[in-house]
Symmetry: C2
Subunit: 145 residues, 2 copies
Amino acid sequence: MARIPSETAVNDLVQSVGLLIRRIRAAVASNELSLSEMSVLARLSREDPATTADLARAEGVKPQSMGTTVAALEDGGYIERTPHPTDGRQMLLAPTAKGLALRTSSRAAKRTWLAHAISQLDKADQETLFAAGEIMRKLVDRDPR
Amino acid sequence: MARIPSETAVNDLVQSVGLLIRRIRAAVASNELSLSEMSVLARLSREDPATTADLARAEGVKPQSMGTTVAALEDGGYIERTPHPTDGRQMLLAPTAKGLALRTSSRAAKRTWLAHAISQLDKADQETLFAAGEIMRKLVDRDPR
DNA sequence: TATTGTTATACTCTATAACTATA
DNA sequence: TATAGTTATAGAGTATAACAATA
């Protein structure tokens, strides 16, 4: 426990967070995929095939919202769906060759604006930033809607 | 300078930032105004009357985008516009009594979900969080679009 | 020419509600 | 009943483009 933060401190923090996420979106938008889509494609590329519901839980959005993202990725040919072997309700999602190619293209990784910008920070700032990421998660988890 | 962060560290950070801003939006949505609108109203309440262009610069959005936010606030009767005394192009924006009432209602301030959640963190986490806010700003400012 | 502001249009992201199919 | 997924609809937030008025 500490104290209640000043209103301007909170406002500044919210603005910083908003600016950063907009800046990230703008940077990603120069690629073929949007930020949400890239995030899901990245997850499917490094983890096992997953269902829409799995992805929604992992990304912290509603299943219907994830349905939209997943549909866009499938329309673009970046992921494909196969029926679950035993559960007829589920569809397993996995990256296609096209999806993997976009991901593994070293250019895509190196061009990530945020990774590059962070690499220019000194070590202390990097550590503060990533530590704050976990604190943000604590805030959200502690008091979910 | 430090090193290039791992991709998963960056992805986790982006997700944390996204989760937090969504959580904040959801919390604010229970009030009469949206997050963008509250932010602008707060600024006009603590600073001098400003133009749409001023506000756009201060909040880091395009003037057209700010025009939308400002129009919503004016439609709701939270702010009002008066012509600039010497510059015929400009309209000065200031809160109305209704806008100030919403702002100064202590309930509005105390009910801010984020301020409350932050108050429950220990002092070290609070400091890390606010320090990270400034680092995020550095990231955005260092390499603007 | 530059700036302020407006209007039109569109995209991203996400949500809620209502529904079907399967477990 | 609970879960997975789909479809429809809506709202917040922001952007780009094109324009008129004023500086």
